[in-house]
Symmetry: C2
Subunit: 157 residues, 2 copies
Amino acid sequence: MDDATNPPPRPAHRAAHGHRWDEVELRPYKEDERALFKTISRQILFSDPKLDGELRYFEVEPGGFSTLERHDHMHAVMVLRGHGHCLVGDEVREIKLHDLVTVPPWTWHQFRATGAEALGFLCMVNAQRDKPQLPSEDDLCRLRQDAKVAKFLEGKP
Amino acid sequence: MDDATNPPPRPAHRAAHGHRWDEVELRPYKEDERALFKTISRQILFSDPKLDGELRYFEVEPGGFSTLERHDHMHAVMVLRGHGHCLVGDEVREIKLHDLVTVPPWTWHQFRATGAEALGFLCMVNAQRDKPQLPSEDDLCRLRQDAKVAKFLEGKP
């Protein structure tokens, strides 16, 4: 990695304030016309040229959801706030505080805040990773053939 | 990495029970004669040949502390339970729930559970990393020359 593009070093200690952190920018996602994600924000907690992994915090408002996508890299997720449901492949699971979710390569996945509170989760990924692939109409059609998955995608898991 | 040495795949969803997890082994550290660490346990939450980072959870009983060490790889730490103090280089900081701590390369560091409750923290590291170096008597002597660091090392930060 080119040193000239390195971010400035972060202080050794960054205090938490609820689910915000000193020196960490909140990046709200815009609503997506195709309804691929809704009311989700992202904070990059650890990212450094010397780290081979990155740690991010995502927060989804009640009723919101992350992008339905798949990619070659893995996701290593820990719930940090609230509860909700996730889709990993053709499995729909209820998830709660501190639960762990592994998303294997090339597996469709989405996280939904199905409770009254926001759903917040940590996500560890490789610093070097491929871009996510979005589902085609055919992919969505295939996914919806499973009744459980169809209900999840409608927001009624 | 040789496929024959790969660990069996972990289930996509592993539930949390307090600060223990399904399918995650608790590895207690033995007490060390040189008093380099005390009453600390380790759980490896995410480790996979496809992940360039590893996520571990450490828990230190009240009065306990992690190993005083340094190494080339970085530590990316988030407090997940209780509060305490940490030493990073010559800085002593109070740390509380969800605070972030970055340990740069070759920086002496230690975490202490100085409260009435256990101190638990996540630690992200590179999957490929060097072995920690322990302090020599000379190193300890140099560290103790700073009054704040000396008090921290005595367990009275």
